[in-house]
Point group: C2
Chain length 301, copies 2
């Protein structure tokens, strides 16, 4: 299958491109992706997307985005990349008569805002509380409408927080969820800025890759007009993370976690959703981890 | 108060401008509005909105839109007027340092799609099933985000179907709800294309005007981050419409209604919402009719 991946050099994009390497891949990102056997292009997302469609890819996986913090700090850039570039892609597709690719879009649980029920159902209302979440919600609406009109066969996948993120600790408010596992697992210290009773919604990078490869093989018609799906995940507390770490790496690893409360981060995290039913996605065969032991195992393999 | 009304020559805009004539009004529409004492401008909504803000209106009432049928027939035009022009207005406001007008936006119950509960709650999910509804939902999301960021003080008012619409019968799928009252009231025949058990959600033109004048006087901060409100209305069946007509104008008026089923219209109407709690709006003092006798009385005065 001819597949175009936008945002192919990111954390998920790189793994996804490897998982799909048997296909005819075109990989695009701001920084040049690098995968043998694939067409790799460095390209700004604001550039005209029409040339990317010249080969009429049967599937397009759209992962490219400005992250939440940057979309909040740079209002215009967030809308330009997270909304306008997605719409330009949809318009470039619509301009090609008879072309109707499968389009998988990486959306986010940031489309939802407080107050939340204990477990968020599939039909919870869209109440983004950030510009990033607003841009994702608007793009979801476009994808449903372009699908209904027959221009694409689309699906928006609302990803849980990805854990354990690889790489060095970053300053994202959600970074500590990964840091307190990844760093102690290699003997390095990490800071926990919130209560260990804090609950959140997780999936491993491998699960995220699995969501997209699974969706590629699905008949999306089964989702009818509602083309945005809450992906499955693991609802767990920080204490459960730490217990899993203790089982895998012992008390000496746990002792590397320094509790240092940060009121700013605690306040941000308090506004995040922490559990979903993900009924429709599970029924369609999407799967994620069911324990932090599995999430740690996914990181270590 | 300095008030700018966009779409001021439409059914609601004209009445609203009259109701607000004690204020310092600027009235804008594609066709030149006509009201003594007001600044009246004929202007395409796709034109640069910046000049309209030169006088820094304290309130902007945005009623201008391509209607549902046209947005469905002309995909590009619907997005250009119903989404892009609204966003251009928001961006023009954002470009003026320190300016934060009250912005009231005429949204629609078309942001909701089937399946519906018997009565739609305020937090029902956004599931538009038309391009028009998608464009309204996207603009609502923008208005909430621009409000949260402090660029405007916004509110989206989701209007019920307006009944009794003045003027000649039109071909809108919802037209018959008005036609079967307005025409027999003046001795003319009308066609009823659906079962009389069909239920829908109504408010008079006078109520719609009242929603906006009431919102003008409200502290919108009370609505927090959720800046889209289902307006109150009357949930009633066609049979209840006809009974009210009989009470007001007698059996001879009812006899002017010819039942002529139209499967296309019946199918469209079956997908429309027919009852809302409108709890938040009612609590904030928004009011609508509670019987079709009142809706007919509003038409006759």
């Amino acid at each position: 299958m001819k597949i175009l991946i936008l945002g192919a050099a990111g954390m998920i994009g790189r793994r996804l491109a490897q998982a799909l390497s048997a296909h005819d891949l075109t990989l695009v990102d701001m920084i040049q992706p690098d995968q043998p056997g694939a067409i790799c292009m460095a390209r700004d997302l604001t550039a005209d997307p029409a040339p990317l469609l010249a080969g009429r890819p049967e599937a397009i996986i759209h992962l490219a985005a400005v992250v939440s913090g940057e979309a909040e700090a740079d209002f215009a850039k967030g809308y330009a990349i997270n909304l306008d570039a997605s719409r330009a892609l949809l318009e470039a597709i619509r301009a090609i008569p008879g072309y109707r690719p499968k389009l998988l879009f990486a959306s986010s649980i940031a489309v939802f805002g407080t107050p939340f029920p204990d477990q968020i159902p599939d039909d919870f209302h869209l109440t983004p509380r950030t510009s990033y979440g607003t841009q994702k919600a608007m793009t979801e609406l476009l994808i449903s409408d372009y699908t209904r009109r027959g221009f694409i066969d689309g699906l928006s996948l609302r990803l849980p927080t990805i854990c354990i993120r690889p790489g060095a600790p970053n300053k994202a408010a959600s970074g500590f969820f990964s840091n307190i596992l990844r760093e102690p697992l290699v003997g390095l210290p990490a800071v926990l800025p919130v209560e260990d009773s804090t609950r959140h919604w997780f999936a491993s990078p491998a699960s995220a890759v699995g969501f997209f490869t699974h969706a590629l093989g699905l008949d999306l018609g089964q989702f009818g007009a509602a083309r945005a799906l809450n992906m499955p995940g693991l609802s767990a507390t920080v204490a459960e993370e730490i217990e899993a770490l203790r089982r895998v790496a012992g008390q000496k690893a746990v002792d590397l976690i320094e509790v240092k409360r940060d009121e700013t981060i605690a306040a941000i995290v308090a506004g995040w959703p922490c559990d979903f039913t993900a009924t429709r996605a599970r029924a369609a065969g999407f799967v994620a981890e069911t324990s932090f032991d599995q999430i740690i195992a996914a990181h270590l393999t």
